[in-house]
Amino acid sequence: MLFLLRRLAFYLVAAWVAITANFFIPRAMPGNPVESIAAKYPDLTASAFKALELMLGGGNQGGLWSQYVTYLGHVFTFNFGLDIANYPTPVSTLLAQTIPWTLTLVGVATVISFVIGTGLGILAGWRHGGWLDRSLPGLMFLQAIPYFFLALLLVDFIGIELHWLPTGQGYNGATTQPGWHWAFIGSAIQHAILPAFTIVVTSVAGWMLQMRNVMITTIGEDYVVAAQAKGLANRRVIYTYAARNALLPQLQGFGLALGYVVSGALVMEIVFAYPGIGLLLLNAVSSDDFPLMQAIFLVITFTVLIANLIVDTVIVFVDPRVRAREVAR
């Protein structure tokens, strides 16, 4: 438990840093964001204007400290104010509409990519120098492709030329409505294939390379040689002796890689016009919708932190050394 508590404390610090950065960025940047919003949206009401000043600074709202405390209170109650581009929709409503799309897409695609990449990495590391291992440089080319560029190519080739799969949106709005029925779920899956494929193709080589490298070092360990000397079946040596231990650094890397995947997926959603948080962020950027941008940044950060905490919990279960270290203390 101690390990988890320490991680939890760290994530709380990280969350606090993100919240504080979010508070100070609009106040520290040159120019006055509230005035530029007021210039762009002249028909804002006085109360909306006041809420903006509270959030972004400027005007007469008391000292910096009292502003900060009010702001913290708003963040903890998920009160991100009213959106200005779609006034008066609350920002939290917009977030609640888009987060499930991104979370499902990125989550499922990342797990698929992790499983495939780790599996291929095990094989490439075990058969070091075999054809799979030698095909790695080719796969690494895929890793270097920007997410959104692969997305453009896929939309062009599979969507527009071949008409195999839909090119955009999260579901077919003409034939079905969101809800828990098969017509909608089927349509949503069909629309998610290309975006998910993009994430898997571009991120699988990274998992594979890391797993292969750790596998190669693990195979050189004495206990693997001992297992082989005992005459255990190859399959047993690979999976329960070598791969099991090589998996731990892979899991630790999972949390850090997640931020990278999320960043790529945000831009990719724009190409697919996928109704997730990335598209919302783009719209917020192009319409100078600062409150929405800030809320999106916070929500994405919190999600990544929670995902990291989940991975840490998994590590505690998988790695007896983490548990043993606590007992030793």
């Binding site: 994530y11 990280a14 291992d133 492709i145 920007p146 453009l152 999320v262 945000l266 941008m293």
Partner: protein
């Protein structure tokens, strides 16, 4: 010069390919703008040149407003490379400073700097970058460079800190300290020279991050859209519906250029990795012994086992060969 030559000869093939490819793009960044056949912003009003397919006059075709895409690429590569290399230098310098100080000072300083590093590692960079650039009234090249450098150092700092911690406890550092060397001399003359390959790897990684992120940011429109970079070409292609109109020549060349630069850096990096730990190099793979593929990870083969699994006829034939003298059972087991 000869040390450079020796270094080059020792590089794995992957790293050589990566270096040559990256060198080509650097060359393109240096002389590209002089080679560009047209002004990249000049919109040719001739109606047959609006979104024209690639042709002899316009090798990569034209945009919807009749601008030459090849010229945009040649000019744009310079801006993208300039940005990436500058961010690489600044952010790597930051990560060396943070990593080495943190490990060298130890104690409370180390704790604080490590927490800061890890916090910046775990917070997703792109949304924060978007937030920072979104607030900036002028989103020029320098703004992007500063913001990207400010968020690009944690990964390198972490790796360099770990390495410094290891070197710090070696005997030669203790000897230097005993002989009364000042800390800054130990750091610059004893520690940093021992981390050159790590710093190089960190630089390559940072350049990769800078290219990918700056192109993505420009693609969203968070840059000076009047300048030409690989990202802004892609931005205009996307916003002018190049995809829907089937103008592949508009978005494929810049995207491919980004992918190739990225691939060259990835190759360079794995090459440097293999230079550091030769075990990771792709070995020759399976060796053939007595007609069977033997992998390095297989247990040491026993010749009897290999021969025993032959067919009866082959085993019989084998018993006449010189190799059969090595067998424990003369005719391959089963025949007897």
């Amino acid at each position: 010069m000869s040390t450079l030559m020796r270094l080059w000869r020792n590089l794995p093939l992957k790293a050589k390919v990566g270096a040559v490819l990256f060198g080509l793009f650097v060359l393109c960044a240096i002389i590209g703008p002089e080679l560009s056949p047209y002004d990249p912003s000049y919109a040719n009003p001739a109606p047959n040149l609006l979104m024209a397919h690639p042709s002899a006059q316009h090798l990569l075709g034209t945009t919807q407003t009749g601008q030459d895409i090849l010229s945009q690429m040649l000019v744009g590569i310079r801006l993208t490379m300039e940005l990436a290399l500058l961010v690489g230098v600044i952010a790597t310098a930051l990560s060396v400073i943070v990593g080495v100080t943190s490990a060298f000072l130890g104690g409370v300083w180390d704790e604080v700097l490590s927490v800061v590093t890890n916090v910046f590692l775990v917070i997703p960079a792109l949304p924060l970058l978007i937030l920072l650039l979104g607030y900036l009234p002028q989103k020029g090249q320098w703004a992007t460079i500063i913001v990207l450098s400010a968020l690009g150092w944690p990964w390198g700092a972490r790796v360099i800190r770990a390495q410094t911690l290891m070197i710090r406890n070696r005997d030669f550092i203790a000897a230097a300290r005993e002989s009364g060397e000042k800390s800054w001399r130990i750091i610059t003359l004893d520690i940093i020279p021992n981390e050159v390959s790590l710093i190089a790897a960190s630089f390559v990684n940072t350049v990769l991050y800078a290219i990918a992120t700056s192109v993505a940011l420009a693609f969203i429109g968070l840059t000076n859209l009047n300048s030409w970079s690989l990202g802004t070409i892609l931005y205009w292609a996307q916003s002018q519906q190049a995809l829907q109109l089937g103008a592949w020549w508009w978005f494929v060349p810049p995207g491919l250029a980004v992918a190739l630069i990225g691939a060259s850096l990835v190759l360079l990096n794995t090459g440097i990795d293999e230079l550091g730990s030769p075990r990771l190099r792709a070995s020759r793979g399976a060796a053939k012994i007595a007609g069977r593929r033997i992998w390095p990870t297989d247990p040491t083969p026993v010749l009897t086992q290999l021969t025993a699994s032959r067919g009866r006829l082959a085993a019989f034939a084998h018993s006449f060969s010189r190799g059969s003298l090595l067998d424990e059972t003369p005719a391959g087991g089963e025949l007897l």
